[in-house]
């Protein structure tokens, strides 16, 4: 039995906060999440105002700059694509209560892996895209998987806290890629590699503009398809496969899972590798679909951290992640031009805090009870 928290009187009534005994109606969690976001936006607006900006202008700008017309909507999708994959990566790890904060580093390593195919070069520039792109995708996933494997193994074998190990690996990944950019693959001494040949670029909608004129200028690329396919596949794995059942069981109660004969250590390593692979795919998609060269700044743009928030907001559901990623893509796209410049990150932080706090409403209910005259026996 858990304690109910009573608050002091208000004209003979008492506010009681007590644990819920049954599940809230289906729409309730979504409503609470929406409410949390609304609250966060209001709070964010206040902070913008304190820092000297104009909140209404800022938000209106965000809305217009991301959904105003098809061109910017396409840009929003482009921004959302890496977020989708990063969030999927986080979601599968979080299901097992593995706090993968290293999606950022795994993303970057994925970009590195894909770039290595082009820049070493492992495949010559004339290679057909039909070969190039799958090979780069696999290289990206492999590199990301390795980067996820390391903390997974450390956790399984030595019980090393994965939050810190994955985080440290983020910094190491950035340094690693920087070395290759500055020291090996630099183009004319600039902070970036040579531009990738067009055979490595992910096809875009605008590539078909000659046959379908509407598509002119739309930069949405194949990465979106990769993200959607990955989301659907992940949904099936988590909710309909044996492995997914085991992951969910471990995440909810590792001791029960152990009793059921599930190998926790092995799953720790596998899930972290899978998580890394998904993030790595995101890195590959970004570097071959948008940036077209290996360059640190646009890769280390915080997709890994945004992925964490998106995964949490979507309650780890792969299909919802697609929608939420688009929302956040908008935020990032339009937020770039907002003054002060830290606004998108701050709003992300406030959203996450509101969401976590709002979870409380799902587990507890607020009741008004008439003070002390309650004689009806409850059952």
């Amino acid at each position: 039995m858990t304690k109910s928290i009573s608050r002091p009187r208000w004209t003979g009534y008492r506010i009681k906060i007590e644990p819920r005994l049954d599940q809230p109606p289906g729409w309730y969690p979504a409503a609470v999440s929406v409410g949390a976001i609304a609250f966060a936006l209001i709070l964010g607006g206040i902070l913008i105002a304190i820092a000297g900006g104009d909140p209404f202008l800022s938000y209106a700008h965000i809305a217009r700059a991301s959904f105003g017309e098809i061109g910017v909507f396409s840009d929003t999708i482009v921004k959302a694509t890496p977020i989708i994959l990063a969030a999927l990566a986080c979601s599968v790890a979080f299901r097992m209560k593995l706090w993968n904060i290293g999606a950022e580093g795994q993303f970057i390593m994925g970009a590195f892996g894909a770039s290595a195919i082009v820049l070493t070069p492992i495949l010559p520039p004339e290679t057909t895209p039909w070969l190039f792109i799958p090979v780069m995708a696999m290289a990206g996933m492999a590199a990301g998987a390795v980067w996820g494997f390391i903390p997974g193994y450390l956790k399984a074998k030595y019980n090393v806290n994965e939050i810190i190990s994955t985080l440290m690996l983020n910094y190491i990944a950035i340094a690693w890629v920087n070395y290759w950019i500055f020291g090996v693959w630099t183009e004319g001494g600039f902070q970036m590699s040579a531009k990738f040949p067009e055979t490595t670029w992910l096809p875009r909608l605008s590539d078909y503009a000659s046959t379908i004129p509407i598509l002119r200028g739309l930069t949405t690329h194949l990465g979106l398809l990769l993200g959607i396919v990955a989301a659907i596949a992940l949904w099936f794995v988590v909710f309909r496969s044996r492995w997914g059942y085991e992951i969910r069981l471990i995440g909810d109660n590792p001791r029960a899972a152990q009793y059921a004969g599930i190998n926790i250590a092995r799953n720790t390593v596998l899930v972290m590798a899978l998580s890394g692979a998904l993030a790595g795919l995101g890195g590959m998609s970004e570097v071959t679909g948008v940036i077209h060269r290996l360059q640190t700044a646009p890769l280390a743009a915080g997709y890994g951290f945004t992925g964490i928030i998106v995964a949490w907001l979507a309650k780890l559901n792969p299909l919802v992640i697609i929608l939420v990623s688009i929302l956040f893509g908008a935020l990032i796209l339009a937020g770039r031009e907002i003054q002060p410049s830290g606004v998108p990150k701050m709003i992300q932080g406030i959203i996450l805090v509101s969401l976590i706090a709002s979870d409380f409403l799902l587990r507890y209910q607020v009741r008004f009870a008439r003070d002390s005259a309650d004689t009806d026996a409850e059952e």
Partner: protein, 528 residues
């Protein structure tokens, strides 16, 4: 008839007076206008089955909970306790069923916890001697410098008492104090309580064990489902049957009828296993036992003598350093739990929520925990959800699990229902061997009877059942044979016939539970 009570005066105001106490928790009315009265210098028994509201009532008195309605008076003065500190200041101290001791700290540190002195710096050695002195005065000797995790359970209980006495408590509330003691230690506790009363203290003794309350208490108050059914009745004035009726409200059968035992081959063979506990200390030292098909074998013992480790080694959750466990001739020790599951082993763990189930997953997810790898629940790596749901619904029917739908997360289920889910899962696999650890802990009488029926049904179906329990009465009435475990070894094995448990049997078992091997008992001539 009036019972004569030697030390109390009936003209003084009662030491503690609780009137009309109401305490609600979400979904449950734990105390429904309960009255309770404690006279100075008496031992007052508070009797009731699990969930009747006894602990709740005393938690209110001890300041841990605030009542929703009702008044409390101490020595005639009305009091309002907003925290345990207030209660302690008023001289009321509680020794909880689950000890509130910090394992990694010493006795002295635990006793001093929460006090206003020492002001800032601590010179512990002064306090060590003061506490040792207090222990001597009340016959509760214990080494003040020992760390709690190093002490035996009985010694830890003494520390709890010392904590309260040090704070000048005059009223001592003991919540199920005998749950962790062997029969001989219980007598020791009773003597301690009597001597404390002789030195001017008053004791409230909470228990669900009729016999003990009848033996120790001067007066008895009985609670049933949150209501008081008898208040302050002199214990010499009622019979056991009457008390039982007041507790449960209907004819209580103290004894379970079962068909005679026709045991088959040995199913489980535990051969001289040695294993360590989580701290690395030896927990099982060369323990051997066996269970045959069609019988229930009980393992009796005071908590903490290796029972947990034994069940864990058998189910594969813990490694054993020496020896082996054979299940139907296959070695099952030091292999992963999957092997045991695939060879027909079922496990009802002691901890329903933290080991036996996944709280946030649905009933369906929980019941397929053992068979999800096989068809029809899964085909080729993918789960067949409609099949799983159908299976869950079948179990819901068959085992009377009360739940809105099988998609409900199991954390919302009551203890009894949760145990039914676990039993349904384990039994539906038609195991040939089952380990059940404390299967009826915390359940009300109806649920307990249900569990007993299921265990007996398994026995009838030819399964081998190993029942590890701290409830001696349950063990003696259900088992065909009983082993007694003490400090990781078997002290002896007793045939328990179809007869009602008699005093002699209990005494022998009690002696074994406190460390006397069976041969020694027989040599010394105590008849079994």
């Amino acid at each position: 008839m009036t019972a004569t009570l030697n030390t109390t005066s009936e003209t003084m105001p009662p030491m503690v007076e609780m009137r009309g106490i109401v305490k609600r928790f979400p979904g449950v009315l734990a105390n429904d206008h309960v009255d309770f009265e404690l006279r100075a210098g008496e031992i007052h028994g508070l009797l009731g089955e699990n969930g009747a509201g006894k602990s709740t009532l005393m938690n209110v008195l001890a300041g841990l909970y605030k009542q929703d309605a009702g008044t409390i008076k101490v020595n005639g003065n009305p009091v309002i306790f907003s925290s345990p500190r207030d209660a302690i200041k008023a001289g009321i101290g509680m020794v909880h069923q689950h000890f509130m001791l910090v394992p990694s700290q010493t006795v002295t540190e635990n006793v001093l916890l929460g006090l206003d002195e020492p002001r800032f710096f601590m010179r512990l050695s002064e306090y060590d001697s003061r506490i040792a002195e207090l222990g001597r005065k009340f016959g509760l000797s214990v080494d003040p410098r020992a760390k709690i995790w190093q002490l035996s359970v009985g010694e830890q209980q003494r520390v709890e008492l010392l904590k309260m006495l040090y704070r000048g408590a005059n009223v001592l509330i003991m919540d199920e104090p005998t749950a962790v003691l062997a029969p001989q230690e219980i007598e020791g506790l009773f003597n301690t309580l009597r001597s404390m009363v002789a030195q001017g203290k008053s004791v409230i003794f909470i228990s669900h064990k009729l016999n003990e309350v009848a033996a120790i208490a001067d007066r008895v108050t009985v609670l049933r489902r949150g209501k008081g059914t008898a208040s302050g009745v002199p214990s010499r004035g009622v019979t056991r049957q009457e008390l039982a009726q007041l507790m449960v409200g209907r004819e209580v059968v103290f004894f379970v009828a079962k068909k005679p035992c026709k045991p088959g081959d040995v199913v489980l063979d535990v051969k001289a296993i040695h294993a360590e506990n989580d701290k690395g200390l030896p927990a099982l030292r060369g323990l051997s036992l066996n269970v045959r098909a069609g019988e229930i074998v009980g393992v009796a013992g005071v908590a903490g003598n290796g029972q947990n480790e034994l069940s864990q080694v058998i189910t594969g959750l813990r490694k054993c350093r020496q020896g082996e466990v054979m299940l139907n001739g296959d070695k099952v020790s030091n292999r992963d739990t999957l092997f045991g599951i695939q060879h027909g082993m079922a496990y009802i763990p002691e901890d329903r929520t933290h080991v036996g189930s996944a709280p946030n997953l649905s009933v369906t997810d929980n019941v397929i925990m053992k068979n999800y790898r096989k068809s029809p629940i899964s085909k080729g790596g993918m789960l067949d959800m409609p099949a799983a749901t159908k299976f869950a619904n079948e179990l819901k029917q068959a085992y009377d699990i009360i739940v809105p739908t099988v998609n409900t997360p199991v954390r919302l289920l009551s203890g009894g229902n949760l145990q039914r889910v676990i039993l349904a899962r384990e039994i539906s696999g038609q195991p040939n061997f089952m380990v059940a650890v404390q299967p009826t802990r915390g359940l009300d009488v109806g649920a307990i009877e249900g569990v007993h029926r299921l265990l007996l049904a398994q026995r009838e179906a030819g399964a081998a059942v190993l029942l590890i329990s701290e409830e001696l009465e349950e063990l003696l009435s259900l088992s065909d044979r009983v082993y007694v475990i003490y400090e990781g070894k078997i002290m002896g094995e007793i045939q328990v016939g179809g007869a009602e448990p008699n005093e002699g049997l209990v005494e022998v078992v009690g002696l074994m539970m406190t460390g006397t091997p069976l041969e020694q008992i027989r040599k010394e001539g105590v008849a079994a």
